[in-house]
């Protein structure tokens, strides 16, 4: 088990990297240059807040015992009674809670008060993520999605991506459009950051998917480890590759050019879609899921213009749509692991492999539960914030730039010659010594 623990520590670090810096870069590059710091800060502060909430009551709500919707927040409050051998798993799951919450920020870029996000994050993790994570990842007989419905979700198509995607949609609707949208659209200000972020997300995702292996008592543990990690690693890779092609093909046909943002988006769409299916399908199924996800998401990102919601960075078009595709397609292309192969994931054949409708129905029900739970929980929190502290920065701050208004900083100083007119000095209240120091 030493080897397994070392593997899980690495997997945990990889998923930690997905939020900071990968997601922060991916999203930051897509915003305007005057909003990039605020966008990145939404990921960084989600990391800090969700992590603390997780060890206080989150872990207990997810893994602290039985429950249809969630477990008691008190059983393992503050990690009480968590055995010394439970810490690695606890930390691995912490990183999932963090990135799921951070993903939502892309839907409300450029216009939200930092304080409103800081209030939203712990409430949403508590009311939406922890319950859905319990329903999916804490697979006891009475946990709703995994136990009662019996839907397969290897690493979080429902609890992570559909959950974050629905939350993004609800927030985009409650928070409202950016000034001037959709007439004045905002161009991504630095696609090189976005390309870098997408590639780092891809690498981090191996921790996410491959690390999600759960040992089954019937199998020899080391055999299962060997067989299953190889399969999930290959599926994660090939689905992503197929999704790049799918996205670029649709773009080329619909808009005439294959774009870098399309490739980066295809990477994320493919990873999202293979997340629930990583252990349930063979390589043909993985390629099919990736191709469909890339192609459909490339089309789905245009829905916001047709329906009129300002999901700024396409959390809905990529995470909600990709999550649904991956989770539902398990019902079509999942395969029972061949006898003796020691792969636990694909416990049932999908429709295309002669398994009938049983799996498909379970997958669709799982999707619906995730959509309903996240939709209601997010709506309650979003409205509560809207009618108390309020979501939006002032119109003036939104136009001048949210970085300056909310953080008092600007991301770039590109005036090499005239230094942007900067004069150094100290703010009021600094000590005399500090003032002298600056002068010297």
């Amino acid at each position: 088990m030493d080897g397994y623990n070392a593997f899980m520590l690495v997997a945990t670090l990889l998923v930690l990297m997905m939020t900071t810096p990968a997601l922060a870069l991916f999203y930051g590059g897509m915003t305007r240059s005057k909003s990039v710091l605020n966008m990145m800060m939404m990921s960084y502060v989600a990391m800090a807040i969700v992590g603390i909430v997780w060890v206080l009551w989150g872990y207990s709500m997810v893994f602290g015992g039985d429950g249809t919707f969630f477990a008691s927040p008190f059983t393992n409050f503050g990690l009480n009674d968590l055995g010394y051998d439970g810490y690695t798993f606890m930390m691995f799951q912490l990183t999932f809670a963090v990135i799921t919450t951070a993903l939502i920020s892309g839907a409300i870029a450029d216009r939200v008060k930092f304080s409103a996000w800081v209030v939203f994050v712990p409430l949403w993790a508590t009311l939406s993520y922890f319950p859905l994570a319990h329903m999916v990842f804490s697979c006891t007989d009475d946990s709703l999605i995994c136990g009662v419905i019996g839907a397969q979700d290897y690493a979080g198509g429902t609890a992570v991506h559909i959950n974050a995607g629905v939350a993004g949609l609800v927030l985009a609707l409650v928070v409202g459009k950016r000034l001037g949208w959709p007439k004045d659209k905002t161009r991504p200000h630095n696609l090189t950051l976005t390309m870098l972020g997408a590639a780092l997300l891809w690498v981090g995702w191996y921790g996410f998917n491959v690390g999600s292996l759960i040992f089954v008592d019937d199998f020899d543990a080391s055999d299962q480890f060997l067989a299953e990690t190889g399969l999930t690693f290959a599926n994660t890779t090939l689905a992503t590759m197929a999704a790049i092609i799918g996205w670029l093909l649709v773009e080329k046909v619909l808009h005439g050019k294959a774009t870098t943002l399309g490739a980066a988006s295809g990477i994320v769409a493919g990873l999202v879609a293979i997340t629930p299916a990583a252990g349930a399908v063979n390589i043909v199924g993985a390629l099919a899921i990736g191709l469909v996800a890339g192609a459909v998401c490339a089309w789905a990102v245009s829905l916001k213009f047709k329906l009129g919601f300002d999901d700024s960075l396409d959390v809905v078009g990529v995470h909600l749509v990709g999550g649904i595709i991956g989770t539902v397609m398990i019902g079509l292309v999942s395969v029972t692991a061949p006898a003796g192969s020691n792969v636990a994931g694909g416990a049932v054949d999908g429709l295309f492999y002669g398994g009938g409708l049983e799996s498909l129905v379970a997958q669709v029900l799982g999707v619906l539960v995730a959509i309903a739970w996240s939709g209601i929980a997010t709506l309650v929190i979003a409205l509560a914030i809207k009618f108390t502290i309020g979501w939006r920065v002032s119109d003036e701050a939104e136009i001048d730039g949210i970085d300056l208004a909310e953080h008092g900083e600007s991301a770039y100083d590109l005036h090499t010659g005239i230094g942007g007119g900067v004069k150094s000095g100290v703010v009021a209240g600094a000590t005399g010594a500090a003032r002298e120091g600056v002068k010297a």
Binding site: L254, A298, S302
Partner: protein, 112 residues
């Protein structure tokens, strides 16, 4: 004295500078600017959404020259920067009342 201002396509800037140097122009002020004329802007597509980019990048050259040289300088810029396609730019001249060289205090023609 006249101020010659030229707004040209960025890829023509090196050719124009060389041609002016050959003619004897010893200095100029150059800036990266954006704007549009009859060619308007262009469109870019991000995740399927079309963006009208109204402003096109251009190079603006400013040179103060003696009255006698104005026609030659304008001619050189036009000849060198011309591609015959829309968006080649504009050149215009404005009268200049006085010029002072900061280093020496020399005035007008002596300061050019």
């Amino acid at each position: 004295m006249k101020l010659v201002t030229a707004v040209i396509k960025p890829h023509k800037w090196e050719d124009v500078r060389e041609a002016l140097e050959t003619f004897g122009v010893t200095g100029m002020t150059v800036s990266e600017v954006s704007g549009y004329g009859r060619q308007k802007g262009h469109t870019e597509v991000y995740r399927g959404a079309e963006y009208d980019i109204a402003l096109v990048p251009k190079i603006r050259i400013e040179i103060v020259v003696d009255d006698a040289d104005v026609d030659d300088v304008v001619g050189i810029v036009v000849k060198t920067a011309q591609t015959g396609r829309i968006g080649d730019g504009k050149v215009w001249t404005t009268p200049v009342d006085s010029v002072v060289r900061v280093r020496t205090g020399e005035q007008d023609d002596a300061a050019l």
